[in-house]
C-alpha cells in the first residue's frame, strides 16, 4: 500500500534541475513508478540526459521515504529542553523577562536605537557564556561576527574582570582556571566588511563549528548594517537575508546553541503621518527570530529598559536594567 503512494509521486516534487525535469517529462516519465525500476543507461538513452544525471535522478527517487527527515515526539523534545540551560545576562530583570536568560536552540533578536547598548549586551553574553557551571554559566565558547567594527576589547576586559570578581565572591572559586586570558582565547571574532563576506561567513559557520564544538553562542552585530547600506536591489536583499536567517535557525536547532542577532531601528509612518520606531529589516524578517527584544533608554533620566515584543512561549513585558562600568 505504501509503495503505491510513493510510486505515484510526481517527479516534479523532487529537487531535480528544471532542464532535466522537462526532458524527463517530454520522454513520458512523470511519476516515480515509471523510473524506479530502470537502469541509468536505459533512463539516459530514453530521456536524452547524461549518464551521471540519470544516476543522480535514480538515487534521489530510490531513497526510502521519511528516513532522512526525523520526527520527534513532543515528549522527547520536552526532555531535551529540560536539560538546556539559558545564558544569563547578569541583569536579574532581563533574565526574568526571558525566563532565565538567552535560550539555547533559538534565535534571539535585540534591536534598539544607536548607542543604546546592544553591542554591550552582546559582549556581556560572550563573557557569561564562558562562566563555569557552578556559577550558572555554560562553560562554552562564543563566536562574534562583527559587521560594524564595534568589537571593543577594552570594554571586554572591564566586563570580564567584573564577572570574574562576581564569580569568585559568590562561589569562592579558584582563580587559575578562569581569567582574562582564557576568556579572550575562547571568543572567535570574524570581521565582515560587506554583505558577501557576511553571507560566506554564515555559510561556513557549520564547518567551523565542527572543529570547535564547544561554541555555545553566536553573536552577529549587527545584521542590519550591510543590508541597509549596500544593497539597492530589494528582491536580492530579501533573498539573501532569508537565506542567512534560515541557515542561522538551522545551526541553532541542530547544534543546540544560542544565536543572538542585533538589529537597528527604522521609522514607520501610520495613516495620520505619525512616525514610530520599529525594528529594521522588515516584517518578513520579523518572523525568523523566536524572541525579539527592544532596548530603549531615556538619557535625561538615565533610565533604561528592555521590552520583549515577540516570543513563542512567554508573555510580553518590560524590564528596567542598568549599565555599570
Amino acid at each position: 500500500m505504501s509503495t503505491s503512494i510513493t510510486n505515484s509521486r510526481p517527479i516534479c516534487t523532487y529537487p531535480i534541475p528544471v532542464s532535466i525535469q522537462s526532458k524527463l517529462s517530454k520522454a513520458g516519465f512523470l511519476t516515480t513508478g515509471s523510473v524506479v525500476n530502470l537502469r541509468p543507461s536505459e533512463l539516459s538513452s530514453s530521456a536524452e540526459i547524461s549518464l551521471e544525471d540519470a544516476a543522480d535522478v535514480l538515487d534521489l527517487v530510490r531513497k526510502p521515504n521519511g528516513l532522512f527527515l526525523e520526527t520527534k515526539t513532543a515528549l522527547e523534545i520536552l526532555r531535551e529542553e529540560q536539560g538546556n540551560c539559558p545564558i544569563v545576562t547578569m541583569s536579574q530583570n532581563i533574565d526574568n523577562l526571558l525566563n532565565g536568560g538567552v535560550p539555547l536552540s533559538k534565535v534571539t533578536e535585540i534591536s534598539g536605537i544607536a548607542g543604546v547598548g546592544k553591542t554591550q549586551l552582546c559582549l556581556q553574553l560572550c563573557v557569561t557564556v564562558q562562566m563555569p557551571e557552578e556559577c550558572g554559566g555554560l562553560k562554552g565558547h562564543a563566536v562574534f561576527i562583527d559587521t560594524e567594527g564595534s568589537f571593543n576589547a577594552s570594554r571586554l576586559q572591564d566586563m570580564s574582570q567584573a564577572c570574574i570578581k562576581h564569580c569568585r565572591n559568590s562561589m569562592n572559586l579558584a582563580a587559575e582556571n578562569w581569567n582574562f586570558a582564557s576568556i579572550t582565547e575562547n571568543i572567535f571574532v570574524f570581521r565582515c566588511k560587506e554583505v558577501t563576506e557576511l553571507l560566506s561567513c554564515v555559510m561556513i559557520l557549520k564547518e567551523f563549528l565542527k572543529t570547535h564544538d564547544q561554541v555555545k553562542l553566536i553573536v552577529i552585530d549587527s545584521l542590519a548594517f550591510h543590508f541597509r547600506h549596500d544593497m539597492e536591489n530589494a528582491a536580492l536583499r530579501s533573498r539573501v537575508l532569508h537565506k542567512i536567517a534560515a541557515e542561522l535557525v538551522r545551526i541553532a536547532v541542530e547544534l543546540k546553541l544560542a544565536v543572538v542577532v542585533t538589529n537597528q531601528m527604522t521609522t514607520k509612518f501610520d495613516s495620520k503621518g505619525q512616525g514610530h520606531l520599529t525594528p529594521a529589516l522588515g516584517t518578513s524578517w520579523g518572523h525568523a527570530p523566536t524572541f525579539r527584544i527592544i532596548l530603549d533608554w531615556d538619557p535625561s533620566r538615565n533610565f533604561r529598559w528592555a521590552t520583549l515584543i515577540k516570543s513563542s512561549s512567554l508573555p510580553p513585558g518590560s524590564a528596567p536594567y542598568q549599565v555599570r562600568p
Partner: protein, 226 residues
C-alpha cells in the same frame, strides 16, 4: 465563531504580523487535538518546537488528564526547505495524522521567490495540491501559518493580505487573520469561509501564560522519573 470547530478534510490558513499569535493558535489546536480528542498530530516547523508551551496549554485545558500520553501523540519535524516539506507530505506515515500543522509555510518560500518567479509559482502549485490531497483523501485538518505581505500603506481600510500571493488566496477553505491588540489580547477574524454565508466575524481572546518557573517545578513534582 466557527460553528463548533474545524471539521476534517479542510485546509485552514492563519496569517498575521509577527508576534500576532499565529503559532500560539497552532499550539493550542495541537494540544487540544492530542489531549482531548486523543488523535495524533504532526507539527512541521521551520523555527522551533515548543514542547513546554504545549504542556502548559494542556494543563490549562484539563488539569488531571494524562499529559505525557498526549505529548507522545504530537510529532515535531523541522523542515528547512520546500523539497523537505514535499518529502514529508508524500511519506506513507502521513495518513495517520488527524491534524497537520505547517508553521510556517511562508518561511519556506521566502528564499526562492523573486528569483525565478515561475518556478516559485509552480512549486506553490504543487504544494497546494499536495496539501489539499492530504486533507481530503486522508480526512485530516491541515493548518498552515502564513505571513502578511507589505501591501497597501498602513492604516487604510482594507484588510491586510496574506503573503503567498493571489493564487494562494483561493486555496484554503478557511482563512483567519490574527492580530495582537494589546498586552494580552488577541483577535481572530474570519476572512474567508466557504461553508458560511457571512464574512468577517471576529472574536477576541487572551492567551494565558503561566510563569515558566511554576511550570518547571510542577512538572518535576508530577513526573519525577523523567
Amino acid at each position: 465563531m466557527l460553528d463548533g470547530g474545524i471539521p476534517s478534510g479542510r485546509l485552514v490558513e492563519v496569517f498575521g504580523e509577527p508576534g500576532s499569535g499565529k503559532t500560539q493558535l497552532a499550539l493550542q489546536l495541537t494540544a487540544n487535538t492530542a489531549l482531548k480528542q486523543q488523535q495524533t498530530v504532526c507539527y512541521l516547523t521551520t523555527s522551533d518546537a515548543n514542547a513546554e508551551r504545549i504542556l502548559e496549554i494542556m494543563h490549562c485545558l484539563q488539569e488531571d488528564a494524562d499529559h505525557l500520553n498526549g505529548l507522545e501523540r504530537i510529532h515535531f519535524c523541522y523542515v528547512n526547505d520546500v523539497y523537505q516539506l514535499m518529502e514529508m507530505l508524500w511519506a506513507p506515515g502521513m495518513r495517520e495524522y488527524k491534524l497537520v500543522v505547517i508553521d510556517s509555510l511562508a518561511t519556506l518560500f521566502l528564499p526562492i521567490r523573486g528569483d525565478s518567479f515561475n518556478d516559485a509559482i509552480s512549486l506553490l502549485n504543487k504544494v497546494a495540491s499536495d496539501l489539499k490531497r492530504l486533507a481530503v483523501v486522508h480526512q485530516c485538518v491541515v493548518l498552515t501559518v502564513n505571513h502578511v505581505s507589505r501591501g497597501p500603506a498602513e492604516g487604510t481600510a482594507s484588510t491586510p493580505t496574506p503573503f503567498l500571493g493571489r493564487y494562494w488566496c483561493s486555496v484554503p477553505n478557511l482563512t483567519l487573520h490574527s492580530k495582537h491588540l494589546s498586552k494580552d489580547e488577541f483577535q481572530l477574524t474570519v476572512v474567508k469561509n466557504i461553508y458560511s454565508p457571512d464574512p468577517g466575524p471576529k472574536c477576541s481572546f487572551r492567551y494565558f501564560f503561566r510563569s515558566r518557573v511554576d511550570v518547571k517545578n510542577e512538572f518535576k513534582s508530577i513526573y519525577p522519573h523523567i
